[in-house]
């Protein structure tokens, strides 16, 4: 039997592999690219870029617990202008389709960044990192109301020449209101989950264990939470859902596909072992063969209660 391992991501188009690499865990640094070469990666998402350069948070930025990672990187990045200037040098020959992750403190900032990115050719899409904790003019945390999410998606959609993915934090995925708002505003896909807001204290020093007060939790411990959210949201929206959160193996990836994710994305565990895409595809291929499954969406169609 010939199994089809490609995926259709709606307006984004088709990916040769359902395995993507998540924002903040992909970079063009040489050692990483050398390890990733030849891996079956459908698309990569860049680290989130902002309008202005950001220095990021003080050290320590990494805390490792049993089965989870807390990071407080603080979106360190060089800003959109430098990103655009150096795009061809840095990303020109990486060999994987690229999605650029962007974040802003206001609708205007998102729009300005999206406009500037129009000067790059051949992006697969933009991912809107909507987990921004900043407070806007009306005193509301920017990402805390579905209407605002709808506004951002709509405004970016009208100025960007690339399809948009709305990336939700776990708080925005508690119910389907944010996902529906994004879909109605024209998002091509939804991705979830971003890291879970979390903190650790150093009780001996009466202070946080990370340089910043808190950070974002990722890794295997968040997987069951992510899975439930993906299960629910993929049933509510009629655009594709890209599932992520703690995927560490081919079995994990199959679970996400079965729950309703059209494609899956790996972050933390791919930094630990950049041969993970190949391992995952090997498992998926074997699984499809064993169960006579011809294409990836069939995996979730077979799911039943």
């Amino acid at each position: 039997m010939i199994c089809d391992h490609s995926v259709e991501l709606g307006a984004i188009g088709s990916l040769a592999s359902p395995v993507m690499i998540s924002s903040g865990t992909f970079g063009v640094a040489k050692p990483y690219m050398e390890l990733l070469r030849g891996q079956p990666v459908g698309a990569v998402v860049t680290k989130t870029i902002t309008l202005n350069p950001k220095a990021g948070n003080p050290q320590p930025r990494i805390y490792e617990g049993p089965c989870y990672l807390i990071n407080s990187i603080g979106l360190e990045n060089q800003g959109v202008d430098r990103f655009v200037d150096f795009y061809n040098d840095e990303y020109g020959e990486i060999g994987f389709p690229v999605i650029v992750s962007i974040s802003g403190n206001s609708v205007d900032e998102f729009v300005t960044i999206a406009r500037k990115l129009n000067s790059i050719d051949g992006l697969l899409g933009l991912e809107l990192n909507l987990s921004c904790p900043n407070v806007d003019g009306e005193g509301l945390a920017f990402g805390s109301v579905p209407e605002r999410i709808g506004e951002v998606v709509k405004a970016c959609g009208s100025c960007s020449r690339f399809p948009l993915i709305a990336k939700l934090s776990p708080f925005q995925a508690i119910d389907d209101s944010f996902a529906l708002a994004a879909a109605r505003a024209g998002a091509a896909a939804i991705s979830l989950i971003n890291t879970v807001p979390a903190m650790v204290l150093d009780i001996h020093r009466f202070r946080p264990a990370t340089g910043a007060l808190s950070g974002g939790m990722s890794g295997p411990a968040v997987k069951p939470i992510a899975l439930k959210m993906i299960y629910e949201i993929s049933r509510s929206v009629d655009i594709p859902v890209i599932g992520m959160g703690g995927i560490a193996s081919g079995e994990d990836a199959i679970e996400f596909l079965m729950a309703g994710a059209r494609a899956i994305s790996i972050g933390t565990m791919n930094m630990v072992d950049p041969s993970l895409p190949g391992q995952i595809m090997g498992k998926i291929a074997g699984f499809m063969e064993r169960h006579d499954i011809e294409n990836l969406p069939e995996i979730s169609r077979r799911f039943h209660l």
């Binding site: 640094a29 050290q59 490792e64």
Partner: protein
């Protein structure tokens, strides 16, 4: 080129009260590791999520050795590895030390920081130079005699000192530096606890001094920005732009 290699333990010897010298079979990584570079060792079989970074202590054509000081879960697990067990290692990583042909160098190491200086001392001698070394440990039981023995073959003059307890020379590396004409060297290389490095700054920052730094790392591969430190050229990744930096460029007040 950075590769991922499954390496079998050839030997795992306790060399001090809390240190092990672990030798792994390795062709690819051992073949290309340069002085000051490090590797990322998978501890997933011991139940750990992240890899652990270690300086390459020494290499042969078929092996790679690490000097691992036991400080927590991962290092304790590595210390318990038995001959023949396999772990996955990624390397070599990072930017190592630069060597000036024929120069006289002083190596200053504290604790497990001495590990990053071994390949360097060999390379200095191979390049026609010579080196002296001052190593500090907290107490006598922490001195890895085998490792000190290895260095005594490449370092012209080797001084070992302990912070406290009973040992021929007592005091820290600063005390030992005060006793010699430390101005005579062409190059200085330092690796050890941040407190030691910071103490050396007033003496050595105007000289040609390189330091090897540590930071908590998630990827070790230059992608996550978990290990960024401040330098006079802005934020730099310890795993990618370092771990070796010039003493001058590091913003010591921020460390």
């Amino acid at each position: 080129m950075t590769v991922s290699e499954n390496c079998a333990v050839i030997s795992n010897k306790s060399v001090s009260i809390d240190g092990n010298l672990i030798t792994f079979s390795s062709e690819k990584i051992a073949h290309s590791a340069l002085p000051g570079q490090f590797v990322e060792v998978s501890c997933s079989d011991g139940g750990m999520l992240l890899r652990r970074p270690f300086s390459v202590y020494d290499t042969t054509a078929e092996s790679l050795s690490l000097f691992v000081k036991s400080v927590g879960r991962g290092t304790r697990w590595l210390g318990g590895l038995r001959e023949g067990e396999k772990v996955n290692i990624i390397g070599p990583l990072g930017k190592g030390f630069s060597i000036d042909e024929g120069s006289r160098s002083l190596l200053i190491g504290g604790g497990c920081g001495v590990a990053s200086l071994r390949l360097l001392s060999k390379a200095i001698v191979e390049a026609g130079g010579e080196c002296d070394a001052i190593f500090g440990f907290r107490k006598r039981e922490e001195i890895p005699e085998t490792i000190v023995g290895d260095f005594s073959r490449t370092a012209r003059r080797l001084t070992v000192t302990v912070d406290s307890g009973d040992y021929p020379v007592r005091g820290n590396v600063m005390d030992r530096l005060a006793e010699i004409e430390f101005d005579r060297y062409g190059r200085y290389y330092c690796c050890g606890p941040t407190a030691m490095l910071r103490a050396l700054v007033p003496l050595l920052s105007l000289k040609t001094t390189e330091v090897s730094l540590e930071a908590k790392m998630a990827c070790g591969l230059g992608v996550c920005y978990g290990c960024t430190i401040n330098t006079d050229r802005g934020g730099k990744r310890v795993c990618y732009d370092g771990p070796v930096f010039t003493m001058k460029e590091v913003e010591w007040n921020d460390l």
